[in-house]
């Protein structure tokens, strides 16, 4: 008997492992996933040859893009962009970058064609201050100015970092404002003084001399009112642009007297050397009509002007020219727009060859949206719409609608208005609405990964949500209510005033419904769970001064009905306080949020808050134990999970996890990890919580799991109430070693919650791995596990098999977030991973149990059936023959 038991347990374990080993088949690559790689907002760009352009971005990334299609030829991701930025990009026979910040500077040389590193050295002295970098003949010159006093120039050998040990110190009391200083070729130049008395100072950095040239600006470009500003041209020759009143003058710096070119230029200009002549490419778009771009090219020596109109329609405001390259009459101009898109313009045709939407390199809000049903299906639904009880009216209605359906069927396809954005049978085709940090909103088709529509908002920024950027995106009405259009709302922050901006739109077409600039700052936002007559969910905004605002105002009456049972909470991450607010004291005139509970977490930093997904369903109410009793899950829809980190003199850092009831403020459970530090990621689902932290003592990442059970009696099976505290849940906790660095975590979600739960973890090595919840489930301290309960034996270090990587070899850079949504197929969960790259796929935690296998042999079953039929006929014949023979015998 004992052996039988052990065998069965082996079998069980085997089964579960089998279940775990879900991975793709090789022929499924790209079948339902797509990846888009981005580089970030462009800072510097330089053409390396006629084929490619090397760019450096504010994400601290360098990349080489194909001129033909804008695809990435190679990409190298440098240190984290927080505190590290690329300050110099020099493209010659090799690519040289200087990047870094306060922690030091990295000087690197890259191979032009493949992006392999050639050499690297660092500078981590006190020279990590803001400085200027210039490359001149294998010398890297680092210039550190001190405002109002002096500047220091140090020269290094560019490939090795060797310097002659000397630092040139030049007295420079004329440095007043570093924003008026630029580098130009081997010169460093500044403007000091105001309009009429303005002076230009410049130094030849390669000369190793402390000679400063001073010149009156008046002498160069004449006297006129207006402020003079300086612009560098990022060009090998020591050329600058002196701009006054929006008109630029091209100046070439030389010892003693600079050469000034007489014609006026637009400030938005790039220099394109073309054989022995030099072309200046200007990009102009008037402020009244920013949608049209005009290109002028001017020959530097002669001032001959050539004007080209482009067909590029730019809806995103003024573009910024980065670099240009000319070969004969053909030119390529690279420019970036305010929405962080990069485009390549071909001259003289004036055609835009390609555009890269670099806004997608920093996504701050995502939402999956179900598509509307097709017109045919919709008309079937309308068939039963008529409310009049009249028999003939109904008959007429049905006949006409059926005639219409028939005509749609006969004429073939759907009308063109829908353009294929139609709900499919399994709900796998959806639209992803994505808001980006720069303020551009996109709708992306999940099947193709193409952008369906986009819209850019100028001068907006994202909120800061627990040290992360975030915007708030809600679906107010889904596409389910056919004649009514679906509606989404996006909340952003005004860059100038800090007030909220509310944008309501139709997510399918991208049509704008309303753009409202609010007159207050946003503190908390809640999508009300109640629908009005038009199936629209109201939006409740709590402003900075604790006033409640409702949108649309028609949802007020519905809210008042439920006011006594509506609660919200606010968190102050800096002070570590939490407040619960009740709407019970609202009057029809005035909706009020009154504090009902408060939490003071001490001088701790709030690092993560986890709430259960609103659309999550818990299918199974409990777990069956070996003795056939049921352990009921504690499923509290109002439960908040809070993680705080507190600095401690003895334990360095202490991680606190609190599970708080959001209605009463009761701490249901709390746990403490000493010597545990950030980063903390938290996933809260069903009756469990998974969190990751860094164990400072053992220097490893660990994962904690907490599961809450009510016990063997279910307190209230019909309706849950936070007020009725009959018993506190009993918690099981267990910790695991995690052999990786998580950057984002999320639990899968499915339509009805029958499918197993998996935890998706985005790792620093670019993989997104899938861990079954069964691996993390706390087993308690029962010692010997009963095999009937189906627990997997505890292993302290979680296995991370490569087969569990959902994005196989498509490594994703700097994962920031994971978003999941259920498909209408119970087995399937849709996943969007975003960071520097965007990746979409679907996962099936319990395999596709509700679908026929892909490799299901239709032929075999058909052949066998036919074979059986044929065989039965043949045998019938044979049998009759046999019977005949028998009779003759």
């Amino acid at each position: 008997m004992a052996t039988f038991k052990s065998i069965s347990s082996i079998f069980l374990v085997f089964l579960t492992f089998l279940n775990v080993a879900i991975s793709l088949y090789e022929d499924q690559i790209g079948k339902f996933d797509w990846k888009q790689s981005y580089i970030g907002n462009i800072k510097f760009g330089s053409f390396d040859s006629v084929k490619r352009v090397v760019v450096a971005t504010d994400e601290n990334v360098i990349a080489s893009l194909h001129l033909k299609n804008g695809q990435i030829a190679w990409r190298q991701i440098l240190e984290s962009p927080h505190g590290n930025q690329i300050e110099l990009l020099h493209v010659d026979k090799e690519v040289i970058t200087v990047s870094g910040g306060e922690s030091g500077w990295y000087v690197r040389g890259w191979e032009l064609n493949l992006g392999t590193i050639l050499w690297e050295w660092t500078l981590y002295s006190d020279k990590s201050l803001k400085g200027y970098w210039v490359i001149s003949k294998d010398q890297l010159i680092h210039l550190v100015p001190a405002v109002g006093s002096h500047l220091e120039i140090t020269t290094y050998e560019v490939r090795t970092g060797r310097n002659n040990g000397k630092t040139l110190r030049i007295s420079a009391p004329w440095i007043t404002d570093l924003s008026k200083c630029v580098t130009a070729g081997i010169y460093w130049t500044c403007i000091s003084g105001e309009s009429s008395s303005a002076e230009l100072h410049y130094i030849d950095l390669s000369s190793q001399l402390d000679k400063v040239y001073n010149l009156s600006v008046e002498k160069l470009i004449g006297n006129a009112p207006g402020k003079v500003t300086l612009r560098s041209l990022q060009y090998a020759e020591p050329d600058i642009l002196l701009i006054r009143n929006g008109v630029g003058r091209y100046v070439r710096l030389q010892p003693e007297l600079p050469k000034v070119f007489t014609y006026g230029l637009s400030p938005n200009v790039a220099v394109a050397p073309n054989g022995d002549q030099t072309l200046l490419i200007q990009l102009e778009s008037s402020s009244e009509n920013p949608e049209n771009i005009q290109i002028h090219s001017v020959e530097l020596e002669e001032g001959k002007e050539n004007r080209i109109e482009t067909d590029y329609v730019n809806k995103t405001g003024i573009s910024h020219i980065i670099t240009a390259l000319c070969r004969g009459s053909a030119c390529r101009v690279l420019f970036s727009a305010q929405d962080h898109s990069i485009s390549l313009l071909q001259l003289p045709a004036g055609k835009v060859a390609w555009t890269r939407e670099e806004a997608l390199s920093h996504i701050v809000a995502t939402e999956f949206l179900e598509l509307p049903v097709s017109e045919l299906d919709a008309s079937i639904e309308h068939e039963f719409d008529s409310v009049s009880g009249d028999v003939f009216g109904t008959l007429y209605h049905r006949l006409t609608s059926q005639a219409r359906q028939l005509s749609v069927l006969l004429t073939g396809q759907q009308s063109t208005s829908n353009t294929g954005l139609v709900r499919d049978e399994f709900g796998l085709h959806k639209l992803i609405i994505v808001a980006t940090n720069v303020g551009k909103l996109f709708a992306i088709d999940t099947i193709t990964g193409n952008v369906v529509w986009s819209r850019f908002f100028n001068n907006v920024e994202s909120f800061s949500l627990l040290n992360k950027h975030g915007m708030l995106l809600f679906v107010q009405r889904t596409a389910r209510y056919s004649p009514l259009i679906p509606q989404c709302v996006l909340l952003m922050k005004d860059k100038i005033t800090g007030n909220g901006i509310m944008y309501t739109f139709d997510p399918i077409t991208g049509e704008s419904l309303q753009l409202e600039r609010l007159s207050y700052q946003i503190n908390q936002v809640m999508l009300l769970p109640y629908e009005d007559d038009e199936h629209l969910k109201g939006l409740l905004i709590l402003s900075g001064d604790s006033q409640v605002h409702l949108y649309p105002s028609s949802s007020k009456s519905i809210l008042l009905k439920h006011a006594s049972t509506t609660f919200l909470y606010t968190a102050n991450p800096k002070q570590g306080t939490l407040h619960g607010l009740s709407l019970a004291y609202s009057t029809p005139e005035n909706i009020k949020a009154v504090p009902t509970w408060s939490l003071n977490l001490g001088q701790a930093e709030l690092v993560a808050v986890g709430i259960r997904p609103i659309n999550e369903r818990v299918h199974s109410q409990g777990r069956v134990l070996a003795d056939r009793s049921v352990l009921y899950k504690y499923v509290n829809p109002n439960l908040l999970a809070i993680a705080t980190i507190k600095d401690d003199s003895i334990h360095k850092h202490v991680l606190n996890i609190y599970l708080v009831d959001g209605v009463t403020g009761l701490i249901v459970y709390s746990t403490v990890h000493k010597r545990a530090d950030k980063p903390v990621h938290l996933v809260h689902s069903e009756n469990w919580l998974v969190y990751s932290y860094y164990n400072e003592r053992f220097r490893r990442i660990e994962l904690g799991a907490i599961e809450l059970y009510e016990g063997s009696v279910q307190s209230n099976s019909t309706a849950f109430s936070s007020h009725a505290v009959s018993q506190l849940p009993h918690a099981e906790a267990q910790a695991y070693i995690f052999p990786g660095t998580p950057l984002a975590m999320q639990a899968t979600i499915t339509e009805r919650g029958i499918t197993n739960k998996h935890i998706l973890v985005g790792l620093s090595n670019g993989a997104v791995t899938e861990i079954p919840w069964a691996f993390l489930e706390p087993r308690g301290n029962q010692g010997i596990l009963n095999p009937e309960e189906g627990y997997i034996p505890y292993i302290p270090e979680l296995p991370l098999p490569s087969e569990a990587t959902i994005n196989y070899n498509q490594s994703l850079a700097r994962i920031r977030g994971l978003q999941v949504a259920p498909a209408r197929l119970e087995s399937t969960c849709l996943v969007l991973v975003h960071g520097l790259d965007v990746y979409y796929t679907r996962v099936t935690p319990s395999k596709t149990f509700d679908l026929l296998k892909e490799d299901f042999d239709h032929w075999l079953i058909a052949i066998v059936l036919i074979g059986l039929t044929v065989a039965s006929y043949v045998t019938k014949r044979l049998a009759s023959r046999k019977a005949l023979k028998q009779a003759w015998k």
Binding site: R108, T116, Y808
Partner: protein
């Protein structure tokens, strides 16, 4: 044993001391920045991807410090303060084992195997580190391939074959009055059928297992042969078989058909055509089947 405990205690103590020292150093000296050096080896030639250097990165503590691989595979990670770090080599197609690199406050380097479970177990590896690929990362499941045995063991195929067997043999056996009589005499047909079945099953399952095959073989062989022996009736080995022989004799041809099917199905299962089947099919042809 006592000695062991003592040593262990000492180790822990030393570690604490070391840690405290580094803590103190970290605060006082921010300049202590060191470099970690090593070499990454490419996968062996037939699998070496072109341009693998630019696709390979090194991460220290999940990307806090970065390393890039030069053309010859060497790398230098700059700007690393003293401490204990996990060094990983990232390549989308190949797996490398991560190691732990420790830099003490005086800049002395030590590399050791990464052991998350027993953190104070030191298994040193040479420094400068040599990172060798463990192999190609397996991301995919392998699709099942079509095999004859799978096909034959397919329930549907069995469904087609078995009824045929039953339809062809059984009625004839039962219809024959002589057989009926003999059956009653001897005992039962099941007795004949059962060992046959179990023989077959054990043979399928124990297919490769020689020992089992050996023990069963003689019996099986003789029972198979009995069919032929019915034809030339000169192979009589045991009393049991004499009695069995009585069954097929009057209806030679029919039995032949039946056994033919049986043998084929078994032959397929073993993955080879047994010589018996070959002989049989020839004979059948001769018979004008």
């Amino acid at each position: 044993m006592k000695w062991l405990i003592l040593v262990n205690f000492f180790l822990v103590f030393a570690e604490i001391l070391c840690l405290e020292v580094t803590n103190g150093e970290e605060e006082s000296e921010t300049q202590g920045r060191y470099t970690i050096e090593g070499k990454v080896y490419a996968p062996d030639p037939p699998f070496t991807p072109a341009n693998w250097q630019s696709d390979t990165r090194l991460h220290i503590n999940g990307g806090k410090y970065l390393g890039f691989v030069k053309e010859d595979g060497s790398f230098i990670i700059h700007n690393v303060p003293s401490g204990s770090y996990i060094l990983e080599v990232l390549h989308p197609e190949f797996t490398y084992e991560p190691i732990r690199v420790e830099i003490n406050s005086r800049g002395k380097m030590r590399a050791r195997k990464l052991n998350h479970i027993q953190t104070n177990l030191v298994a040193p590896v040479p420094y400068p580190v040599k990172m060798k690929p463990l192999g190609k990362t397996k991301y995919f499941q392998i699709r099942e391939q079509w095999r004859l045995t799978d096909f034959l063991f397919n329930p549907m195929v069995l469904m087609m074959v078995l009824p045929l067997v039953l339809i062809m043999i059984l009625p004839k056996m039962l219809n024959d009055p002589e057989t009926k009589k003999e059956m009653e005499q001897i005992g039962s047909l099941t007795k004949f059928e059962m060992p046959e079945m179990s023989d077959l099953v054990t043979n399928f399952l124990a297919g490769t297992s020689q020992s089992q095959l050996q023990t069963k073989k003689s019996a099986k062989k003789s029972s198979d042969d009995s069919d032929f022996s019915a034809l030339d009736s000169d192979k009589i080995s045991s009393t049991e078989e004499i009695e069995q022989m009585h069954l097929p004799q009057p209806e030679e041809r029919n039995i032949k058909k039946g056994t033919f099917i049986l043998v084929i199905s078994r032959g397929g299962a073993c993955g080879e055509q047994p010589p018996d089947a070959f002989v049989l099919s020839r004979m059948l042809k001769f018979d004008g089947f």
